[in-house]
C-alpha cells in the first residue's frame, strides 16, 4: 500500500508540484471569489429583474428596478396559471415523495439489516437502476400508462416518480440504516415487540434524519424535473410548475414578457432554494453519502 502511494505521488507529483508553485494562492482565491460572486449575482439578478417592468429591463439590464412591480408576479400566477401549476406540483411532489419514502424505507431496512438469500442480488437490482437512462423507459412507460388509462394524469406521473427514484433512495437509506447499532433489534425482540413494531417505533425514529433527508432530496429533485410531465401530460390544467415554466418560456417569445418569465422562474426556484438554504448541510451530506461508503 505504501509503495503504491509513493509511486503515484512521484509520477504526477512532480508535475503537480511545479504547477502548484506556478499558481500563487492569491489568484486561486480570486477565482473562487469570482465564481461565488457570479453564482450569487445571477440568481439575485433574476430575482431583481422580476420586479422591473419590461421597459426598464430593456433600458438597462443592470439597473435596479424603480419601483416594486409585482404585476409580473400577478400575471404569472393568475394569467399564466403558474399558481395552478404550483398547486399541482405541491400536491404531486409531496405525495409522490412521501410515497417514495414510504416504499423505500422498509425495503432499505431489510436490505441493510436482515440477512437473507439473494439479498445482494436484490440490492444490486435496485441500485443498478441508477445507471439506466430514463429516456429508455420513455416509450414503454407511455404504453403502460396508456393501458392503465393514466396518460395525461398526475397519478401516473406520481407512480413513475416513485419507481424511478427508488434506486437512489434505497441506496441512500441503506447507508443510513447500516449505521444503526446491531443491538437494537435484539433489545426490541427481548421486549416482546414484533419486527414491524420494532421498525416503526425504534428504527424509523432513529433513522429519522436519513428519512427526512431522503424526503427533501427527492422533493427537490422531482420539483426540478420536467421530463416526465413533458411526455406524459398534455392538458394545460395538469401541468407541473417546472413544465409550466417551460411552456411560459415558449410563450414568452410571442409576448416578449421577459419580466413575467423571470417572475415565473422565481416562483419555481424559490421553494427549492429556501429548502436548500435551511437544510444545505443535510442535503449535501445525503447526496454524497453513497460515494463515501467503505
Amino acid at each position: 500500500m505504501e509503495r503504491n502511494l509513493e509511486t503515484r505521488e512521484s509520477a504526477g507529483g512532480l508535475l503537480a508540484r511545479r504547477l502548484a508553485a506556478a499558481v500563487p494562492s492569491g489568484v486561486a482565491n480570486l477565482f473562487l471569489a469570482l465564481w461565488i460572486a457570479f453564482t450569487l449575482f445571477t440568481i439575485a439578478w433574476v430575482l431583481i429583474s422580476s420586479f422591473k417592468t419590461n421597459r426598464e429591463l430593456f433600458e438597462s439590464v443592470w439597473s435596479l428596478p424603480r419601483g416594486l412591480n409585482v404585476q409580473s408576479y400577478v400575471k404569472a400566477w393568475r394569467i399564466s396559471k403558474m399558481g395552478n401549476y404550483f398547486l399541482n406540483s405541491l400536491l404531486l411532489i409531496t405525495f409522490s415523495t412521501a410515497g417514495i419514502v414510504f416504499v423505500a424505507a422498509p425495503a432499505a431496512y431489510v436490505l441493510a439489516r436482515v440477512a437473507f438469500r439473494g439479498r445482494q442480488l436484490v440490492t444490486n437490482i435496485f441500485v443498478s437502476g441508477m445507471s439506466i437512462p430514463q429516456v429508455l423507459l420513455l416509450v414503454p412507460v407511455f404504453m403502460l400508462l396508456r393501458r392503465f388509462l393514466l396518460l395525461d394524469n398526475l397519478i401516473g406521473v406520481g407512480l413513475v416518480y416513485v419507481a424511478v427514484n427508488l434506486p437512489f433512495t434505497i441506496f441512500m437509506l441503506i447507508s443510513f440504516f447500516i449505521t444503526l447499532p446491531v443491538e437494537l433489534e435484539e433489545a426490541s425482540a427481548i421486549d416482546g415487540a414484533s419486527p414491524v413494531r420494532t421498525f416503526l417505533t425504534v428504527m424509523l425514529p432513529l433513522a429519522g434524519p436519513g428519512i427526512i433527508t431522503a424526503f427533501i432530496i427527492n422533493f427537490i429533485w422531482n420539483w426540478k424535473e420536467y421530463f416526465w410531465p413533458l411526455v406524459l401530460i398534455s392538458s394545460d390544467s395538469k401541468k407541473t410548475v417546472s413544465l409550466g415554466l417551460y411552456g411560459l418560456q415558449g410563450s414568452m417569445q410571442y409576448s416578449a414578457d421577459w419580466v413575467g418569465l423571470f417572475a415565473g422562474c422565481v416562483i419555481v426556484m424559490l421553494p427549492t432554494l429556501l429548502l436548500f438554504a435551511v437544510m444545505s448541510k443535510r442535503i449535501i451530506s445525503g447526496m454524497t453519502i453513497g460515494a463515501l461508503k467503505g
Partner: protein, 431 residues
C-alpha cells in the same frame, strides 16, 4: 401510533384523489368541448379569444368550452390524447401543419354538411361567408376539413416613416431591392433583420426567390423528386446565388445566426434594421414593442427579371380550425366555430390586431394596409412554403431547412447548396 399514521395517510390520499379527479369532466350536466389551441396564454390576442369563449358559453348555457393554450407544439400533444381516449374536439394551427399532421392522417371530420348550413345570425350558407378561394386552398380531395380564419401572406416590411424621411420608396424589382439594400448599408443601417434561429423564416428567401424565378409549384416538385435531378434546373441555382449574394454582402444584421426569437423582429421594429421578410402576423406580434411614430408598411417580394412569378402571386397562410373525427361532441364544436367566425369578432381581430380574416366584409387591418390590398388583388395563391411542409414534413425538416440555413448563414456557396440538396434528396428518398 401506526394506526393513526395509516388513518391519516388514507384520509389525505382520499382528499388528493378527490382534488385530482374533480379536475376531470363531470359525467352528466353540461357538455364540455375541449379546444386545444396553438396559441400561448400570453399572446396579445388571447384575451379576445377568451372573450369569444365566454360569450359563447353565455349564449349556450348547455355547452362549456375548455381551452388548453398549448402553444405551437400543439400538434404533438394530440396523439397521447387519442391514445388515452380523451380526444379534444377542436384544434387550431396553420392549415399547412394541420394538413400534414391530422388531415392527411384521417383524423379530422369533414365539414361540408355544416358549411352548407346558414352561418350564425344570417341566411347565407356558412361557406359563402368566406372570401373566394379561402376554403379551396387546403381541401382534401373534394372535402373541406379546415376552417380558415386568420389569413396571412409573406411580404417585406419597412417603417413607412423611415422611408419617407430618407425619400425611399418600396422597390418593385429585385435589382431595385438590392440597390436599396446597398444604400442602407452605406448609411450604416443594417438592411435586413432576421431571426436566424427560426429555420423556416430563413427559408423564406430561397422559397420566394424560387417562386419569382420559376413560378408556383417548382419548389414542391423538386423536393418530391426521388432522383434529385430537378435541382439541376438553373432557376434553383439562380435563386440560391441571389440568397448567397445577400449573405456575402452582409445585408443581414450582424449576429443574426445566433438570435433567439423574437430578437430579429424586435430589431426591426426598434429601427436597428431597415426591412424584414416575414409574414403578415408581424404587427400583431410586435405592436407592444414599437416606438412612437412607427408606421408598418410593406411591399410584396420583388420580381426577378425574366422570372415567371409576378407581384400579384401571393402566398397564402391560413391559421385554421379542425374538428377531430373521434371526439365526442362534434356538433357543439361546429357550433362554436360558427360562433367564432361572426363579423363582430372578425372585425375586432382585424382592427385591434391587424389581422386579415378569411371572412368577407371584415374591416381592414389598420397596420397592414398594403398587405390587405395585396391579398385583394392576388391573381394566384400558393400554399405556405409551396406546400412542402404539409406534403413532405420530414424532408422539410431534415433536408431542405438545414441546407438552407448553411446557405443563408454564408457557410456554403450556391453551387455547394444545390449539390447538397441533390445528394441529400437522393439519400432521403432512397432510405
Amino acid at each position: 401510533m401506526a394506526r393513526k399514521l395509516i388513518f391519516f395517510t388514507l384520509l389525505v390520499s382520499v382528499l388528493f384523489l378527490a382534488v385530482e379527479l374533480s379536475a376531470e369532466d363531470q359525467k352528466g350536466g353540461p357538455v364540455t368541448i375541449q379546444y386545444f389551441s396553438g396559441w400561448n396564454e400570453g399572446e396579445p390576442y388571447v384575451p379576445l379569444f377568451k372573450k369569444i369563449i365566454a360569450d359563447f358559453e353565455a349564449a349556450n348555457p348547455g355547452i362549456r368550452v375548455n381551452a388548453s393554450w398549448n402553444g405551437r407544439e400543439n400538434l404533438t400533444k394530440v396523439r397521447p390524447m387519442l391514445l388515452s381516449g380523451n380526444v379534444p374536439e377542436l384544434m387550431d394551427q396553420g392549415a399547412d401543419e394541420l394538413t400534414g399532421a391530422l388531415v392527411s392522417q384521417d383524423l379530422t371530420y369533414a365539414l361540408d354538411k355544416d358549411l352548407a348550413l346558414p352561418a350564425v345570425g344570417s341566411k347565407t350558407a356558412w361557406k359563402d361567408t368566406f372570401k373566394p378561394g379561402q376554403l379551396d386552398a387546403y381541401k382534401k380531395g373534394s372535402e373541406n376539413h379546415i376552417v380558415p380564419w386568420w389569413i396571412d401572406t409573406t411580404v417585406f416590411y419597412y417603417n413607412g416613416k423611415l422611408f419617407s424621411q430618407k425619400g425611399f420608396s418600396a422597390p418593385k424589382t429585385w435589382d431595385e431591392f438590392t440597390t436599396l439594400c446597398d444604400k442602407f448599408k452605406a448609411n450604416g443601417l443594417a438592411p435586413l433583420a432576421q431571426d436566424g434561429g427560426i429555420n423556416f423564416y430563413n427559408v423564406y428567401y430561397f422559397r420566394h426567390l424560387v417562386q419569382r424565378i420559376m413560378g408556383n409549384g417548382a419548389l414542391l416538385k423538386a423536393c418530391g423528386d426521388r432522383t434529385g435531378s430537378s435541382w439541376d434546373d438553373p432557376g434553383f441555382l439562380k435563386a440560391a446565388k441571389t440568397v448567397e449574394q445577400l449573405a456575402k454582402k452582409g445585408f443581414f444584421i450582424k449576429g443574426f445566426e445566433g438570435y433567439t426569437f423574437p430578437a430579429g423582429q424586435i430589431d426591426f421594429v426598434q429601427g436597428k434594421a431597415a426591412m424584414i421578410l416575414i409574414s403578415t402576423w408581424l404587427p400583431a406580434e410586435t405592436k407592444d414593442s414599437i416606438p412612437a411614430g412607427f408606421e408598418y408598411r410593406s411591399f410584396p417580394v420583388p420580381t426577378v427579371a425574366a422570372g415567371k412569378g409576378k407581384a400579384a402571386d401571393v402566398e397564402l397562410y391560413q391559421w385554421s380550425f379542425v374538428v377531430l373525427k373521434d371526439a365526442p361532441h362534434k356538433a357543439e364544436a361546429v357550433q362554436f366555430l360558427k360562433f367564432w367566425t361572426q363579423k363582430k369578432y372578425n372585425d375586432e381581430m382585424a382592427i385591434n390586431h391587424d389581422a386579415m380574416i378569411a371572412i368577407k366584409g371584415t374591416a381592414n387591418p389598420p397596420s397592414n394596409p398594403d398587405a390587405a390590398k395585396l391579398m385583394d388583388i392576388a391573381s394566384s395563391t400558393s400554399r405556405f412554403n409551396d406546400g412542402v411542409n404539409s406534403a413532405l414534413p420530414e424532408y422539410w425538416q431534415t433536408v431542405l431547412l438545414p441546407a438552407d440555413d448553411s446557405l443563408i448563414f454564408g457557410k456554403v456557396s450556391a453551387e455547394q447548396f444545390i449539390a447538397q440538396l441533390k445528394k441529400d434528396s437522393k439519400a432521403f428518398w432512397n432510405k
